[in-house]
Amino acid sequence: MTTALPRPLVLILLALLLVLGLFPLWGKLVFATKYTFFLQKLTGIMILAVLAMSLDLLVGVAGLVSLGHAAFFGLGGYMLALMSPQYEAANLWVVLPLAIAAVGFAALIVGVLSIRTSGIYFIMVTLAFGQMGFYFFNDSKLAGGSDGAYIYVKPTVSAFGVTLVDLDSKLAFFYVVLGVLVGSYLLLRMVLASPFGRVVGAIGVNENRVRGLGFNPMLYKLAAFTLAGMLAGLAGFLAAVQYGFVNPAMLGWHQSGHVLVMVILGGMGTLFGPVLGAFVLEIAQLGFESLTDHWLLLMGGMVIAIVLVLPKGIAGLLIAWTGPRPASEGHDPSEPCERGAIAAPGASAKEPRGTDVTRPASEGHDPSEPCERGAIAAPGASAKEPRGTDVTRPASEGHEQ
């Protein structure tokens, strides 16, 4: 697909990627003794970034705010722990597909049950299922209960008897995870650009209209939920390989909330935003921790400041900086989509319906159009459109009895 991001932004992101990818070269010089620590830390952050991106598909694109997403992350890790023989290496080509398939199946079941609800009810149902997963591993004797379980030997990656990648090598694993991160991003971009992704994005903007056009939103939401769950499972699998350890906290709501913060902080619906969110949040935590014991105060202050100052997250800020000036009308269909949405925040928040009407053909139908329009417009539009109404409606009905 054609890239929809403003050109300077693409260059910035590529530069950041290059800096990250070359870390093994410059990190040794800059950090000397702490190099290995930072290498592992960055690997961990990239894994969380994959998890955050998978959640963004639900929260930012489809408008499904899940507070139980970590359950699939943890399940992916537990699948590796359960399938690994105790003192031998598992074969990655066997355990990885099995783990992803199992997580996908779990996500499908949870999805069938939870997408019946919407708004805050969806948040709570996913929370409930996430907590059920947490207590399942916490209370049962399977895989060590609340103590967690160790994976003593990392899986082998070999073809025809030749070891392709040695996952024990921290450097090799760093590049494996980097590859997964970039691959996941490209995969999700492709998905979003496909007709399927356009319908999912349109559901995030206005589900009723999508239904009116003859699509069955439930099927699309279910597919998105399952896909996001599988990607989260992949991230969890990688985390289990990295740490050689899984515990129930991987599935808990704290983890889900943490990742949700990354997504909102980074900028929903942009895919690269949540990745930046993961890096900013984790690196800020590292920095604050080194400053003071009471780093949570600084962390809380930073989160609040970002909400108040950057309504569209870090990605929104970057797009506003690198995109064309806001002076343009932002309704010209030939312009890149973000311009319209970001350049006229007032317009997108105040008159989402009006915008829909003025460009009816653009609502996720023209495959040549960049994908982010629906996604970026969604947060602003959602305040007024169905998600907002879904959430506030029961309140009024509750008092009219």
């Binding site: 949700l260 509750g398 008092h399």
Partner: protein, 286 residues
Amino acid sequence: MDVWFFLIQVLNGVQYGLLLFLVASGLTLIFGIMGIINLAHGAFYMLGAYLAYWLAGLTGSFAAAVLLSLPLAALVGYVIEVLLVRTLYRRDHLDQVLLTYGLILIFNEAQRVLWGSDVHGVAVPAALAGSIRLTETLAYPIYRLALSAVCALIAIGLYVVIQKTRFGMWIRAGASNRDMVAALGIDVKLLYGVVFAAGAALAGLAGAISAPITSVAPGMGDSILILCFVVVVIGGVGSVKGAFLGALLIGLADTFGKVFAPDFASFTVYGVMAAVLLWKPRGLFA
């Protein structure tokens, strides 16, 4: 199983449910009227418990501590509403989630700075320290009965205020249509501030009076927050009546879950919630 044992479990369940209602009623009112998802609501519960512990130590009287912690919790709630929450009314719900998540971090750490990471206990006031003998071997503590009575009185008081007074009328009207209420000349900003402060006070009260029967510990706000969201969602968001029934349901489910299936005790609450929402996707009273 013996009848008395069963009765005691029912009393425990109802008492726990009533306590949950105190916290959840504020949460559901704040959501229903102001449209704010307040993740920091559990922090007010924690604040109440720590204030009760601290003031009981200072004044030597638990009753005085509870009475003092109530306005303090309300004040903290009001200040937070004016300084932070007020800026988010027109914003997406997720921004509110993020902001109040930041507040949780700050509250939890402030608690650690002020009172340390130790677990504290508060003594049951002497006047209520006894227990009622039910059989040869079983007895029920008076304090728990008193606590249930206080919660029940507050529940009735809330019902009267919301259904029978002018202020309650504003609240109900504000929940239905805030623009119309503003157009009729009611100071919506003040109304919201008062509702938020009242919710904080109710949660703080719950924390204060539950301090003698639970331990005052870091993180106590987080666990009750999740349970209260469960209650609110089961009852139907914005419905105080729903929150009341939801709280009793969860209180009983949790208590009996611990008795009959201790291995899956934590499971029961979420199981009940999933079942209710699959049956009625918008809660019981929405």
